[in-house]
Point group: C2
């Protein structure tokens, strides 16, 4: 199966969670909007299907994935679909449902991260809502970041303990790499980029998540991806943005 991913071509954003899964699994895929315009790429390629009046089941927004005749939107649902196909989650139903719950919690976290720099409106620039962004981010780094990270660390540690011992390898679910591991990697990488001082302050509380991040980063397929031009660098257009004035002093 050759997958087609439709997502903004200049940011990691939500699409990055899908890219990481496809890359880690060595899947065959096209990142359509990153093709040259002459080959059907560019941002306009994303909206064609969304705005097509004849599209029977149009996505609300990117990312969406075309897989044969299926068109699937929402990052967490794309990963729910791809997970078993890419062997990034076991076939066990309870495991798959649990993975989806964790991914939906990551989805919620991403909204909160986005809203640190855009607490008023996505249609405004950051500088037009900077005062509100400062106030919102203060709460995010004091209350919310730790609440999410506490939870993910607890899930990871609980998973390690279910077999009665700490593992050599850290995983969110079971004994094998899952798409949730990849997503946690991206969350840690993103938080480090956006809030480096906060993360230096917090990270010692999350040894499991840091270990998982480091393990994912050196997986051969992931490492090759991260060192390629396919990995768009973090920047101030995506979800994780580095505005030093928002970080801890």
């Amino acid at each position: 199966m050759r997958y087609e991913l439709y997502y903004w071509p200049t940011i990691q954003g939500r699409g990055e969670f899908v890219r990481l899964a496809l890359e880690a699994a060595g899947a065959e895929y096209v990142d359509v909007a990153r093709l040259p315009k002459s080959k059907g790429g560019g941002s306009s390629s994303l909206m064609g299907y969304i705005d097509d009046p004849d599209a029977k089941r149009p996505p609300f927004a990117p990312p969406y994935l075309k897989a044969g005749k299926l068109v699937i939107s929402h990052t967490a649902e794309i990963l729910q679909f791809l997970g078993p196909r890419l062997k990034l989650i076991s076939a066990d139903t309870a495991n798959r449902m649990w993975a989806h719950q964790l991914q939906l919690t990551i989805t919620d976290l991403l909204v909160e991260v986005h809203d640190t720099h855009h607490p008023i409106a996505s249609s405004l620039y950051y500088h037009q809502q900077k005062r509100e962004a400062r106030r919102r981010t203060l709460h995010f780094i004091r209350e919310r970041a730790a609440k999410y990270l506490d939870y993910f660390e607890r899930v990871l540690q609980s998973n390690a303990k279910t077999k009665g011992r700490m593992l050599g390898k850290a995983h969110m679910i079971g004994r094998a790499l899952s798409y949730v591991d990849l997503s946690v990697f991206q969350v840690i990488a993103g938080l480090r980029y956006a809030f480096p001082r906060t993360m230096r302050h917090l990270e010692s509380d999350y040894p499991g998540l840091v270990k998982l991040h480091d393990q994912v980063a050196v997986l051969p397929n992931v490492s090759a991806y991260l060192n390629s031009k396919r990995r768009i660098p973090f920047n101030e257009y995506g979800i994780f943005r580095h505005y030093p004035e928002l970080d801890r002093p």
Copy 2:
């Protein structure tokens, strides 16, 4: 199967989307936190499992549903699970995936509705972020509400047209009642409660959604539920809150 729903006992909130599905289907369920404390109810019943250090797969937050040995959190995933069991979505995989996409779009809308009155932090009271709430709500009612409603109306109209004719009954998916129909009912009811002047201004653009709302409201099981004490009235603690100063003038 006797389901146990765990959700805040004094608000509709996100749990209401699950309650509506259970009620519409005539399912056997217990709304655990609404039981008297002597029978294991109250808000504290919600946090027991979430905070239990021995819980292997704890939810991040209510709502969550216990179904036999399964514990499922996140409204959209609970509905994805219940849908086929309550005959509130067809067994067809593509239909089920599409229903989940629509429900996840509703999830996104609910965050935006919540953040109209809490744009800075959930840990603060509304009156502590009223200025920011005014500014955020202005964008919500001018830009975002219509964007979501346009999309849902388009999906509904497109579904009506797929069989070449407008229907007697309005449905989001196929020819039968689905949990997405119930959720759209709740969205319309909630927006009307929170922003009555905005909705009076907008509603003529959404004849399909209004029709769907009205049809759902008179379904025998739904109507009985809405007229019972089990339906918690809208109030200023949930997602949809009526603060007249935030609505259109």
